[in-house]
Every structure is written in structure tokens, then in C-alpha cells.
């Protein structure tokens, strides 16, 4: 048994782990990132199938900001990681849409479009919407908002038309709510800024070039990235404080600083600690991607993203049935500016799914159900964009089972535990949470999470 000592160990090579690793390596700390899988990226990774590279979850990079806006989250993340905006090769969205029953609101990276759309569809809410937007701009989500406050209640403080409230809630839930039926108020503020006030973009070439940049930065600073290195458990001293990890291989690595992106419940499991049932997230997704023989726009799917719902009161909860076809998100990646997908198209549709059902199927039943629901999802999305099926050259679909397998997140959760730990507190001394369960979601959010927890718990408190 070999024991090696590190200034810090990072569990998981997702966005948050890579960012934390860069920060630590950049300032001369001896750090290793331990990743169970062959590839890095976590929830936002890539894989090859039929000679083509697929991204596992890239709808949009939220928080789009030009480099001039120095206080924007994206600019701050780039500065902290010493990356250049131009190296991201971001292509901006075209038009996107919120489409709930007969309500349609278009938006783009020019916020004036959404303002005009709200004024058109909800003329009586014009001034209320302006006051809501002012409140979102001025809020200090981490200091003045109660972390358990309801996002819907926050919207209702300003907006009196329930249809408008629900239309705006839909993308806020879809892009980052771990809470059933609602979104935390502070998250709602961050997400509204990230989606509407900042904007959406896609790195040219998908997620891999961005991950390549992060990994190259990390390695250039001397960081060690160890794939196929799963953490089996966290080693603790007689006072209960972490002193290292035991790997799946049985080897031990020692450090009294552990940053974990495995999730709150999952990290506590690694430490031999239990957690409350209410800490376990319940929301998971099924997502299908279809490569088309021609651009999405040529078959009438003109928007970059469509958040759709067949009713004005979409349900943001774990469905009874395997998949909830009543609401979801469509992303036409080839509708981003400057993408590399043309002359093909790439349409992606995501719906809520029941993880228990998907994990209980035997292998044969799983294949059957997956094909059946994949087709049903395409049919459900068709009225809001176009039917991708006739032009499909390749299909790939993942379920809660896939997410659990590749990221270790119990129950296939994407946005993790509904109770976030903004201070990174895992309840175990020397173990700090980063990423989703610390409370920041999405690509830019997870990067920011890794940075801020590494700064606070491994650089300042050295």
C-alpha cells in the first residue's frame, strides 16, 4: 500500500473539480484530481459513437458576457482561471422561445426582445415586469435573500399575471432547480441574470474544446489529473477529520483538504455518514440527440432553444410515468452562430424522468423502453419546433440510469440535492463541497463554485 501526501485532493473532474484544481495548482499547491471515469467533464462531457463526437449535455453556456463587462460572472471566472475570452470561441444564440400552450415569448441575447415580447403578450404587466427586472438586477442573492425562500413567491412580489410568472419559471426550473415545484429565490435571481440578462452561447466544437482548455491549464500549472481513479472512501482520523482517501484500487492518498464534487449525499456516503431523506434530489432527465441530414432551420426549427409546455401550469416534479412528455427543452445546436455542425443539423430534447423506474428495468426492458420513449419525446417536441425523425441520421439517448452510471450521482440527479450548502460544508471536517451541491449549477456556475471554495478553504486558510 502506497501513501502519498497532497496539499489538496479533488474528487471529480467535472467543471467544478477542474476549476478548483487550476486555482490550487496555479499557486503551487500539490494537488490531484481523482476521477472514476476514463474521461473528464462529469455531467458536461463528451463521447464518441458511430465515428461522431457527442456532447453529453450541452444545451447552452449561460452567463454569456463580452470581455468588456468585467464584473460579469463569466469574465470573473476567466480571470481567475487565466483563460482568454477569445479562446472559448463562443457563438451566440439566435432567437429562443418560451412556449407554454398558446403563450409564446421570444428572447435573445438582446434583452430588449424579451421586454418587447412581454409588453406584446402581457400589456398589463409592462411596468410590473420592469420592476421585477430592476429587483433582479439590484438583488444581492447571497447576502440579502433567505436561502430557502421561494422563487415563485419572489416573482409574484412583482408580477400579478400567473401565466407570465409560470412562463418565466419554466426556464429557471429547467436550468437549475433541484427543488420540486419551485426554484430557490436566490437561484431564480442568478438564473434570470444568467439566461436573460447575460445570455446564451455555445463554444464552437461543443464542450470538448472548453474541457481541453481547462485540462491544459491545469496540467501546465503542474496539477495531476488521474482518470480511472475512483474514490472508494474518505479516510478519517480519530477526531473524525478527513486525512485522505482510499481509491477503488485500495491505494491511499493523504491530504487534510478534500474538495468533493460528488454531491452532498454521495460525499457523506464516502465518509461513512448518513444524510436526511430530504437531502436526496428527486429530479432527473431523459435526453435525446438527433443528428439531422440538413440544418434544423431548413425543416422549420428556427429557434436555438425552446422551453415548451402543453399547459400554462407546467409541473416541475418527478413524474409517475417513466417520462413526463408535457414539458421540456429543445435545443437546436446548429442554430448558434458560427457552429461547426452545418451542413447537418443537431436537435436535442430533454424531459423530466422517473429515476426509480429507469433504474429498475432489466437490460432488455431498458432497451425497449428507451427506444419507445425516445420516439415519444421527439413526437412531443415536434409541434414546438419540427419533427426530427424523418431526417435523422443518428440517434443517441440517455436516461437517469446513464447519469448515475457516468457521474455517480445517486438517483441520476442533475441539479443534485434540494438543500444547498453555500459554505461548502459537508458536515465532515476537512471535506468541502464544490459544484452542484454547493449551490452553483451550470457550466459557469460550477466553475465559479470550484474557484470560490478553493479560494476560501484551500488558499486563504492555508
Amino acid at each position: 500500500m502506497t501513501a502519498d501526501r497532497y496539499d489538496a485532493l479533488v474528487i471529480g473532474a467535472g467543471m467544478s473539480g477542474l476549476a478548483a484544481g487550476i486555482r490550487l495548482a496555479q499557486f503551487g499547491r500539490r494537488v490531484a484530481i481523482l476521477e472514476r471515469h476514463a474521461l473528464w467533464g462529469g455531467l458536461n462531457s463528451f463521447y464518441k459513437r458511430g465515428g461522431r463526437r457527442f456532447d453529453s449535455g450541452l444545451h447552452a453556456l449561460t452567463n454569456f458576457a463580452r470581455p468588456e463587462s468585467k464584473t460579469a460572472p463569466l469574465s470573473r471566472v476567466l480571470r481567475q482561471l487565466r483563460l482568454r475570452f477569445d479562446d472559448l470561441h463562443l457563438g451566440e444564440q439566435g432567437r429562443s422561445r418560451l412556449h407554454l400552450a398558446d403563450v409564446r415569448l421570444d428572447f435573445s441575447n438582446d434583452f430588449a426582445l424579451l421586454e418587447a415580447e412581454v409588453a406584446r403578450a402581457f400589456p398589463a404587466q409592462r411596468t410590473q415586469f420592469a420592476s421585477f427586472v430592476r429587483a433582479v438586477r439590484e438583488a444581492e442573492p447571497f447576502t440579502t435573500v433567505d436561502p430557502s425562500a421561494s422563487g415563485r413567491a419572489f416573482l409574484r412580489e412583482h408580477l400579478t399575471d400567473e401565466d407570465l410568472v409560470e412562463a418565466l419559471m419554466l426556464p429557471l426550473c429547467w436550468y437549475g432547480s433541484a427543488r420540486e415545484g419551485d426554484v430557490d429565490a436566490y437561484q431564480a435571481i442568478i438564473l434570470f441574470r444568467a439566461i436573460f440578462l447575460e445570455g446564451l452561447a455555445r463554444p464552437r466544437g461543443g464542450i470538448k474544446p472548453l474541457l481541453d482548455l481547462l485540462v491544459a491549464r491545469y496540467k501546465a500549472e503542474g496539477g495531476e489529473l488521474r482518470t480511472h481513479h475512483g474514490v472508494e472512501s474518505v479516510l478519517r482520523d480519530s477526531r473524525g477529520a478527513a486525512r485522505g482517501v482510499r481509491l477503488d484500487s485500495g491505494d491511499e492518498l493523504l491530504s487534510d483538504r478534500i474538495l468533493s464534487s460528488a454531491g452532498y449525499v454521495e460525499t457523506r456516503n464516502l465518509c461513512g455518514e448518513s444524510s436526511a431523506p430530504a437531502d436526496q434530489g428527486r429530479l432527473s432527465f431523459v435526453e435525446t440527440q438527433r443528428v439531422l441530414s440538413q440544418p434544423s432551420a431548413s425543416i422549420g426549427a428556427l429557434h436555438t432553444l425552446v422551453f415548451f409546455s402543453d399547459s400554462l401550469r407546467p409541473a416541475w416534479r418527478r413524474p409517475e410515468e417513466p417520462v413526463d412528455l408535457s414539458n421540456g427543452v429543445i435545443a437546436c445546436s446548429d442554430n448558434y452562430a458560427g457552429n461547426e455542425i452545418a451542413p447537418r443539423g443537431l436537435m436535442r430534447v430533454t424531459c423530466l424522468a422517473n429515476p426509480e423506474t429507469w433504474c429498475a428495468y432489466d437490460e432488455a426492458e431498458y432497451r425497449t423502453q428507451k427506444d419507445r420513449w425516445e420516439d415519444a419525446i421527439c413526437a412531443a417536441a415536434a409541434p414546438y419546433a419540427a419533427d426530427p425523425r424523418p431526417l435523422t441520421t443518428q440517434v443517441d439517448c440517455f436516461t437517469p440510469r446513464t447519469i448515475t452510471h457516468y457521474t455517480g450521482h445517486t438517483g441520476g440527479t442533475v441539479y443534485g440535492s434540494p438543500r444547498k450548502r453555500l459554505d461548502g460544508d459537508s458536515g465532515v471536517p476537512n471535506v468541502h463541497l464544490i459544484g452542484t451541491d454547493q449551490g452553483f449549477v451550470g457550466i459557469v456556475g460550477a466553475l465559479m463554485s470550484g474557484i470560490s471554495i478553493a479560494n476560501r478553504h484551500a488558499l486563504v486558510a492555508q
Binding site: Q26, Q80, R82, I451, V460
Partner: protein, 89 residues
Amino acid sequence: MNREEIILAIQDIIKTIAPDEDVSNLKTDVRLRDQIELDSMDFLDIVMELRKRYGVQVPEDDYKELATLDGCVAYLGPKMQGKSLKVGV
């Protein structure tokens, strides 16, 4: 390191952290934050770079001493004595 060198050292660190900022015209008696866009995360990087390049430790309670270039000179002067300037690292 003398006054000029300490100022150069800080300017070079800021250039590393925020490559787009023009650091040549910074006033020495005005808060850095009021002249260039530096948030508390960037400020931490100044402290971390001082440690990395010069082995100088600045405890968290003393960060405020580094608010202006004059403050940096006064606070870092004794700590940087006998060290040589490292720029462009």
C-alpha cells in the same frame, strides 16, 4: 526592493491577473479598486502572487493595507527587503 521596484512588482502582478488593464498610469494614492476593476477574488490573487513570487505572506487581516500602491510600498517595504524583482513570470 525600493519603492519603484515594489510598484513595478505590483503592476506586473495586476497585469498577470487582469491582462486587459492598463497599469502604467495608476495613481499611487488612490485605491486600486477605484482605478481598475478588481474584486475581492482578484485581490486574493495579488496576495497569492506575492507569496508565490516573493515568499511574502500577507494575513487576511492585513489585506486592507494593500488598498493603494502607496499602502503596498509602506506595508511590503520591510517584507520585500533584499528580494529581487521578478516580472513577467
